[in-house]
Amino acid sequence: MRGVSAAQKRAAPVPELPRFRAPVVFGTLLLLFVVLIVRSLYLQWIDNAFLQEQGSSRYSREIDIPAHRGRIVDRLGEPLAISTPVKSIWAFPGQVEAPPEKLALLARALETTPSALAKKLADANDFVFLARLVPPEVADRVAALKIKGVHDQNEYRRFYPAGEMASHIVGFTGDRDVGQEGIELTQQEWLGGKPGSRRVIINRRGDVVEDVESIRAPQAGRELSLAIDARLQYLAFRELKAAVELHKAKAGGLVILDAQTGEILALANWPTYNPNARNRVARERMRNRALTDVFEPGSTLKPFTIAAALESGAVRPSTVIQTAPGSLTLGPNTIHDAHPHGALTVEQVIEKSSNVGAAKIALSLPSATLWQMLSDSGFGTAPNTGFPGEVAGRLRPAKTWKPIEQATMAYGHGISVNLVQLARAYTVFSSDGELKPVSLLKGGGVVAGRPVLKAETARAVRHMLELAVGPGGTAPKAQVSGYRVAGKTGTAHKLEGRGYTNKYVSSFVGFAPASGPRLIVAVMIDEPSAGGHYGGVVAAPVFSTVMGAALRTLGAPPDAPVDNVILPPEGSAVREET
């Protein structure tokens, strides 16, 4: 009370304040305090997510840990596809602050002109890639310029050392390192890595100072071994390309199979493309024709007709078939031989590749027997390599065959196959009657196949196929120095629209060494237009070169003297029309 009385002494009279004023001011202030306290409690315990996040974003970061995509290698470990880390340079155009001379240096580092760089920055609003997938050295040079608003990020780029040689098998990856074609597509699960991420604490300079937690561990992609042998693949590609160019053909394919394991050791196609620089490559060049395209095989199918006849006991290898006068009329249709042969044994029907002989043999069989033989040999069903877009070919049910169709089927018309299927079917003859499964991936070793023929039938046909490449056969040019070879030519008219044209598909399928087959090689040349069109002239020499070099590469012991190649005198070689 003393204070009050002293004040009253000094400054009297004080006007009377309303009595409610003090409580109101006091109450208001109290209320404001309560509001503040409630708000802060609310922010502390209830609606804390936003502020927590804002706080932690000042010092903690989530960092991606990149994961490698697995390599693709051949059966000996040579790389066919490798991912290497590269960088992409990007910028926020609005934030780029740099004097013109620095931008000129940046342009030079990115191998572009300052005006092109300026245009790029001016055209984009918020985010722009200045350069994608550049080598790390370039990115380092850019980083050394320390331009504000220009950043880089880690990416992977896929390289294909084998280039155009193996592009159809290996395929390629698209954006973000995801498989788009070929093995890269089908084995995406196996090859693809899963990037991880972790939370870290950074200091004010942006350096990581502490690991807080690992959010996701990165999972690197796994390496994949293909059945391909890069040496044989190169050989196959080189010879196929040379043959296609020599004969001015439209396309071609070549398959090398391991006769014991069914692995695809080489698969080459022409035309092809370079997977390392595939801008504006026509889709058509990317097609793996050996697996996705079908053709009428022609005479390469005759051995299956003969095998069916031998197996059912209808004929024996020495049975004589009359093929004179070189044509056979069935209703309105006539089958021709390119050259009339007269009476031929069953062996000679294969050796000389007689259509009439094969047709007569086929007509002596029930259609279901022939169908069963072709179906058991894998025709009409996809070869099951797991490759995208592989086709089954066409083998119509036996019930729908007319006699003329059964006759033409005997020499490979009215049926369509792909090249891998055809090569695979010959495992029936290269083994003792087993159809081996084919595989694009490296396998464990010799595999058991599905029995199709009796061993003696397979051996008899193998002997006939050896005759076909002999001096009296249709393909003496398929002979290989130092090795016994067995095989069959095919020269099929192409079917276009509703009828056959004078365009051809020349082919050759064979295996060696005949005493213990190691390799099967199938060659197909589509529409050869220069230097002949017969399978024995166009495809057989390719087979001979590839087979000889491949056997030498693999170190297969020779099973014949090196001077075994006997070519008939020029002009007297047996030709065939299908």
Binding site: H68, E78, P79, I82, S83, T84, P85, P136, F159, P161, D207, V208, V209, E210, D211, A230, R231, Y234, R238, S481, G482, A549, P557, P558, P561, V562, D563, V565
Partner: protein, 90 residues
């Protein structure tokens, strides 16, 4: 009682200081670890590039060209091949 408290205080101070130093050590080691990991990544990059370089040098096209043109190598003809029978065929 006072002496015990003083002792405990000293222990507490020591503990606090050691915490600070170990924390500092941990940071330093971590920075070193990060640096080593960055180097690992660098080596991986280099390894990939070397692999690519190796396979570029070893391209069959190039090997064949050098063998044929510089070294003048060729595939021997049948007359120049002598087959030595191996152990198995003797």
């Amino acid at each position: 009682m006072v002496r015990l408290n003083l002792l405990l205080l000293a222990v507490l101070v020591l503990c606090a200081l050691s915490l600070v130093t170990s924390r500092h050590q941990a940071r330093k080691l971590f920075v070193e670890l990060e640096r080593e990991q960055a180097r690992t990544r660098g080596y991986e990059t280099e390894f990939g590039q070397l692999q690519l370089e190796q396979s570029t040098w070893a391209m069959p096209v190039r090997v064949e060209k050098i063998a044929r043109e510089q070294l003048r190598m060729q595939i021997p003809g049948p007359r120049r091949i002598e087959v030595v029978p191996g152990e198995a065929s003797r």
